[in-house]
Symmetry: C2
Subunit: 205 residues, 2 copies
C-alpha cells in the first residue's frame, strides 16, 4: 500500500468537499511531499481513480473563483469512508518499514477512538517483535554470523531499525494512554491539520 490514497481520502474528508488543488496544498502544508509520493500528478491521479472506483464523488464545478482553470470538487462516499478507516487502521498496525504510510496514519490518528488506537499500536509493537526474532534466527544460523560477511550488516540494520520503531511506538502509546490529544468521540475540538478555506499557507515557498 502506498500512502497516497490514505492521504487524499483523509484530506478530502477533512474539508467535507475539496478540489485537487486544495488537497495538494494541505499535503504540502503537512510536508507530505517530502516524506511520501504526494506530488501533483499522483494526487490528481488518485482523485480520478478513486472517483472511478466509487470512493469519491466528483462534482463538475464552474470556473474557479480565484483564477485558473475550472476545477472539480470531490466528496468522500460511504464506501470511501469505509476504505479510509480500513487504510488508517492498516497504516497504524503494520510493522513493515514504510515510514510514509505510518506518517500518514499518525496524521489522521485522532479520527479513531483512543482505546482502539492503543490496541492497534500494541499490535504494531507485537508484530515488530515477532519480525525481529524471525530475522535474528535467520541470520544467526548454526555456522555463526560470519558466514554472511558484510551482508549481515543489512540484517543488523533491519533489526536496529525495528527496535527503534518499537521503542518509539511504545513511547507514543504511553503518551496517548496518559491522555494526550483529543480523539474521536471525546467531544472537544478535534485538531484539524488542514488549512481553512481562505487561510494562506505559512510554509509555502
Amino acid at each position: 500500500m502506498s500512502a497516497i490514497r490514505l492521504l487524499v481520502l483523509g484530506a478530502v474528508r477533512q474539508h467535507g468537499r475539496a478540489h485537487g488543488y486544495q488537497v495538494r496544498n494541505d499535503l504540502e502544508y503537512w510536508g507530505a511531499h517530502e516524506w511520501s509520493n504526494a506530488k501533483p500528478g499522483s494526487i490528481y491521479h488518485a482523485l480520478k481513480q478513486m472517483a472511478k472506483q466509487g470512493l469519491l464523488l466528483a462534482h463538475e464545478i464552474a470556473p474557479s473563483t480565484a483564477g485558473g482553470p475550472p476545477r472539480t470538487e470531490y466528496e468522500v462516499t460511504d464506501k470511501g469512508t469505509e476504505e479510509y478507516f480500513a487504510l488508517l487502521r492498516e497504516a497504524l498496525t503494520t510493522y513493515d518499514q514504510k515510514m510514509d504510510v505510518l506518517s500518514a496514519g499518525i496524521g489522521f490518528i485522532v479520527d479513531l477512538e483512543r482505546a482502539e488506537v492503543v490496541e492497534l499500536l500494541n499490535r504494531r509493537v507485537e508484530g515488530l517483535e515477532a519480525w525481529r526474532s524471525s530475522v535474528t534466527e535467520y541470520y544467526t544460523p548454526e555456522d555463526g554470523p560470519e558466514s554472511l560477511g558484510h551482508i549481515g550488516e543489512i540484517m543488523n540494520m533491519w533489526v536496529h531499525s525495528a527496535d527503534a520503531g518499537a521503542q518509539w511506538t511504545r513511547g507514543l502509546i504511553a503518551r496517548i494512554e496518559a491522555g494526550a490529544y483529543t480523539f474521536a468521540g471525546e467531544g472537544g475540538d478535534p485538531f484539524v491539520g488542514g488549512l481553512a478555506d481562505g487561510q494562506e499557507n505559512p510554509y509555502a515557498n
Copy 2:
C-alpha cells in the same frame, strides 16, 4: 532513486556476465524482494532499460542449457561501471529514510575502499544530524510544540528514526575502522554474496 538499478548493476557485475534469471535468483537469495522492489518485472525492465542507455551490453544467446526459453546475457559497460559507483556512493551517503537503497548499498559496500567507505558514512551521519536539527527547529517554534497537536508526533517519529539511523551508522563505522570485512584493494578473497553458477539456492521457497 530506487534501489533496482543499483541492485541489478551490482548483480550483473559480480558475475561478469549474467542473464535476467540469474540476477533474479541472486536478488532473491539476498532477500531483496522483501525489502526492495526487486520483482521479476522490474528486474527485466531495468536490464532492458539500462541496455538501451548503454550501461549494459546485451548478448543474444541461444536456447538455454537448462530448459525454458532462450535467454539474453548482459555485461556491464564502462559507462555502467561509472554509474554503478555513482549510485553506490550516493546510496551510502544520502541520509533520507530509504531503507531499500541503503540496504542495497551495504550489500555492495566492499566494492569500495575502506577509507572511502568510512568517509561516506561519516557524511551520512553529518547529514542526518543536520537534518535532525532543521526538523527540531521547525517543530519547536516560539509558540511551543503544542501548536502542532498530534501532527508533532510525525516529526517526533522522523527525529527518532534519524537518531536511530545515525547511531547504527556510527556502529558500522566503528566496526569497519576496527578492521571488519575485506574491502576493495585489500587483496584477500572479496566476499561474494551471489550464487555460483551451479549452486542451488538454499533459501528458495
